[in-house]
Amino acid sequence: MSLEDIFQETVSAITMNKARSGLTILGIIIGIGSVIAMISIGQGAQGSIESSIQSIGSNLVLVMPGFQRGVGTQVSSGRGSAQTLTQTDADAIKNEVTLAKAVAPEISRRYQITAKGKNTNTQVVGTVASYPEVRNVQIDTGVFISDQNVRSLSKVAVLGPTTRDDLFGTSTNPIGETIRINRIDFKIIGITKSKGGTGFGSQDDMVFVPLSTAQRFLAGDNYITTISVEAADPNDMAAVQQQVTDLLLQRHNISNVQLADFQILNQQDIVQTASTITDTMTMLLASIAGISLIVGGIGIMNMMLTTVTERTREIGLRKAIGAKKKDINFQFLAESATLTFIGGIMGILLGWLISLGVTHFAGIATEVSFTSIALAFGVSAVIGIVFGYYPAQRAANLNPIEALRYE
């Protein structure tokens, strides 16, 4: 039997009872459509979480002060556990960790900020010129803090767009104006671009000042709160983390890594943790949708069994005129596979529409990936074959004499 003949037989069998075929296909459409839609919602959530993690920088290793856990070590613990990192640590990392592309120490604390009678309470970050590169900050207007600013303890500030909006109103250009942080005047030299990320606290509601200025005039000490280290390559991140750990342990005279007075966060770990969560969510959504797909498959099987019974005499005739078992088997398998194939294509379209609708009306990011389409397509083909197999076998194994006599 040629493929063309199989196709013709299949088309005429499916169009024989349009209502029944249509309803059976509908079951598959709903199943495939919901799988596609659910996976797209899951992957969309994953995408937006990952991009908000990426927005804090790329290949980032964050070094933060830890808790002093041991007793009797040489490390000062009197000043509080959050003050163990200094500018010299940052310089040492910069000079000795070869795989680090850039290093940006920072000190950040919340202050009340006033300007022209308005005021807000926000994060003030004292940092250096390499910060924008490491933390993925872009300048919208003006300039960022320069090394010269840091050396000369300049009282200059770069505002995040949200802070700018709060103090001066939206879309204004306050460069050259003055703000007061902790009763000290700072001149505004730049505005950063909006990042929009919300995952780790808004990156837009911030004020950047030179690190030295923040230490001298705002904090009054030499400690820093975070050292951001950018690895040159994503594959080097573990090595960078290890090198930084070794270096700081040595510098702080700590022999036991358990007693370290700092902690290191690897951006990849954060991404992986988040991915695990969203993967689980995607799996959950997809398996709920998968249930409807199985129900659709059972619909196919039900219809095929009915068809085989209805066409018993036809099967008997086909066998009498020379059809082999495999011919009959193949014909019915082709029929169920075609039903799921049509259902699969329409289901993909439906799922796509649903995910567009979800994005449009509910504002949830969705992402219809090629993988999910391929998966849905494969699954629908498998369903056609799996649920069509038993009815087709039943047809193929009919005794021609009994089939011809069937009333």
């Binding site: 005499r313 008997g316 005129i321 020379g322 082999k324």
Partner: protein
């Protein structure tokens, strides 16, 4: 052509064995028109199934064109049916909602020959079966009983079979239409030299054949050369 030697068929229901055929032997030559006649329960249908390679005998041998087919597998039997047997059934067994041409070409799709050749062969056998050309593109369920049976005959002829087996071909037709169908068989036998085996329980129908095998209780009781053959003069 056809040679049956001591064919038996035994059906088992639980522990009870029922012998439907009890040692049937006969020969049919090429070009003969034979009727197998017997009352219901005589075993004629079982014999037809064996002759038509739908079933195999419990013992005995059946030679079709010199080939022993009593021990073949299902798929081998299917190949024999495809190449050498044409069936005509009492209930026509046409595909509903399919055109006459598609019904007639149906056996050929299992042969894998081209669509064009199929249509050519189908047209030849429709002409041989005597169905007028204006009906060829009708759907099979739009035809009358006599027309449907002629489509079935055309379908039986399309693979150029060694034997045409007709199982009560007039059973669902009125006398007049039945006569037309029987004429068709006579003409196929005399003009196209087809070997035809007709299974019936009616003496009247059997008398259209040249030879009548009487079967009763699983045995051939008489091999009658039909002298008073009913002939339709316009066909001969």
């Amino acid at each position: 052509m056809i040679e049956c030697k001591n064919i038996t068929k035994i059906y088992k229901t639980g522990n009870i064995e029922t012998a439907v055929l009890k040692g049937v032997s006969f020969k049919i030559d090429k070009g003969e028109f034979v009727a197998i006649m017997g009352p219901s329960g005589s075993g004629k249908s079982t014999l037809m199934h064996i002759l038509g390679c739908l079933d195999t005998p419990s013992s005995g041998t059946y030679f079709l064109e010199g080939q022993d087919i009593s021990q073949l597998s299902d798929d081998q039997l299917a190949d024999i049916r495809k190449d050498k047997i044409g069936f005509v059934f009492q209930t026509y067994n046409l595909l509903p909602r399919a055109t006459v041409l598609r019904n007639v070409t149906l056996p050929l799709i299992y042969e894998g020959i081209s669509r064009f050749q199929r249509d050519e062969k189908a047209k030849q056998s429709l002409i041989a079966a005597g169905l007028s050309e204006d009906r060829w593109h009708h759907l099979s369920n739009q035809l009358s009983g006599g027309q449907m049976q002629r489509v079935a005959i055309a379908r039986a002829l399309v693979n150029d079979p060694a034997i045409v087996l007709a199982d009560e071909p007039t059973g669902n037709l009125d006398t007049k239409t039945g006569e037309i169908v029987l004429d068709t068989f006579q003409r196929l036998n005399s003009v196209e030299k087809r070997t035809i085996i007709l299974i019936t329980h009616e003496r009247y129908v059997a008398e259209h054949a040249g030879r009548i095998l009487h079967i009763r209780d699983g045995e051939i009781i008489e091999d009658e050369k039909n002298i008073n053959r009913r002939l339709n003069n316009n066909n001969l």
